[in-house]
């Protein structure tokens, strides 16, 4: 399969299942682990992260291909991408504060922490490395966002189910969360091979 010309649909499905940002690439773990205790909050964060991913990746695509490349400033991509991510997160903070203040309050510090979610920077960088065109980029961004959202939803649902159960001492909190994530990742390995995009 020619890596450069993969169908956007393949990219879309692959980024949700076989190349899931969390479960296959282990990116964006920070807020994933910390905010997955309550399902509603986790789901809210998932939506916020997805939105940020799509917005920033598309904006970064345009900036990279129409500003940075022509001027030969590839080395600036890290700084520029982060600046864009920070700005988009600022705006989404204001939107949440205005229209979804309950979620805004529950997320607390983890909302501005989206800025340093490595999955978001990672997706923009992957877009650059794999030289996706606009449609591929969009498919990749939407798929990765949905994949991250799916992963945190699944984890939060499982954590809520086992919340009342007694765990071996020391495993409460992060301990059991990592184990669950690991098992989910193992399960998702079952998808690998169906689509290969990386």
């Amino acid at each position: 399969m020619d890596i450069k010309n993969i169908s956007p649909f393949v990219i879309f499905f692959a980024s949700i299942f076989t190349s899931n940002m969390i479960l296959s690439n282990f990116l964006g773990m920070c807020s994933y682990i910390s905010v997955s205790a309550e399902y509603k909050t986790a789901s809210g964060l998932g939506k916020a992260v997805s939105f940020v991913i799509v917005m920033t990746t598309v904006i970064n695509y345009f900036i990279y291909n129409y500003l940075i490349l022509p001027l030969g400033l590839e080395y600036l991509r890290y700084i520029v991408f982060i600046i864009v991510i920070a700005a988009v997160v600022q705006i989404i903070e204001m939107v949440l504060d205005r229209y979804f203040s309950n979620l805004y309050s529950k997320l607390g510090i983890f909302l501005p922490l989206i800025t340093v979610n490595c999955a978001i920077l990672g997706i923009s960088l992957f877009m650059v490395i794999r030289e996706y065109n606009l449609i591929q980029t969009t498919a990749f961004a939407i798929g990765s966002g949905l994949g991250w959202w799916l992963a945190i939803d699944a984890l939060a649902a499982i954590r809520e189910r086992i919340a009342k159960n007694k765990l071996p001492r020391g495993l409460e909190g992060p301990g059991i969360t990592f184990i669950i994530t690991g098992i989910m990742a193992l399960a998702f390995i079952g998808f690998s091979g169906i689509f290969i995009i990386q």
Binding site: I83, V84, A87, M94, N102
Partner: protein, 365 residues
Amino acid sequence: MTILFTILSISAISTVLSVFIVIAERFLNDYGECSIDINDGTRTIKVKGGDTLLSSLAANSIFIPSACGGKATCGLCKLVVTGGADELLPTEEPYLSDDERRSGIRLSCQIKVKRNISIVVPEEFFSIKEYKAKVERITDMTYDIKEFRFKLTDPREIDFKAGQYMQIKTKPYDKGQESVSRAYSISSVPSDKNAVELIVRRVPGGICTTYMHEYLKTGDEVILSGPYGEFYIRDDVSKYVFIAGGSGLAPIKSMIFDMIEKGMDKEMLFFFGAGSRKDLYYFDLFKDLEKKYDKFRYIPALSKPEPEDEWEGETGLITDVVSRYIEDEKNKHAYLCGSPGMLDACIRVLEDKGFTRQIVFFDKF
């Protein structure tokens, strides 16, 4: 050349993004003018959206009780919101029971006024005002109790019932101490319209009492709000029993002197419980009152008098002393003020003597 391009590009991108953020903020943070409908149209006020309900009301001279200044810690600022508020915030949840939530009760310090909102405010809140005052006099009463006299500057007059309390707002002092509000009963009489006197006992580690005992000086400006409370004289009987301990003497002093001033011809029995002579204050004041007014009797009781006190009055726990003097509840009301432990113990003694809850009054704070 490359350096120039680098700097220009990054600056350009940052500027464009900043402009976007500023525009977004202008648009998203501007809630415009909102109206607050109070008590089903009885009163409507227009406010600039974006502030909390508590502060918006305060800006319009409607003061809702609050001890923590809007930080969702005291749970005092509850109001019924009939429409226009966002979903319940996690910071409010612990303070509202299921029944309260169903009735639409919210913490007014947590609700942001984003659109037209309608609320219900209890009548008694409308008489609560905020007063600017100056410290006129500070008197040491005992080793840990001081009396503060505040002269009201704006507004200059206050209307209150003897027994009610004020809230005082501290100023931040020392490292990290924020502004808090605490309640103290008024010890001066209502006829003294241009001032209020508060009796403050020092609480170890307490933010407000430390502020008042160590930092407040004559001439300093303070902010008081009030009057608050349901603790005041009911003119239904002929005999009154007053029991106080520590700083609880404040509202009782106000009540006794107010009743005498108004010429209410009542029999008054006043018990004051303390540890030893050094905890007694206003001893001479009440002893003199006993001489002037034969229907007033003052019974101070010391639970552990020191030998050097040369105490000849009643000794023992206040509960025992009260028990010795009171036989029954006929034609009597009882007014109590003091620490929770003392209150509970004395209420039990009164109940044994036949007093029902309807005729025993105390301030629950």
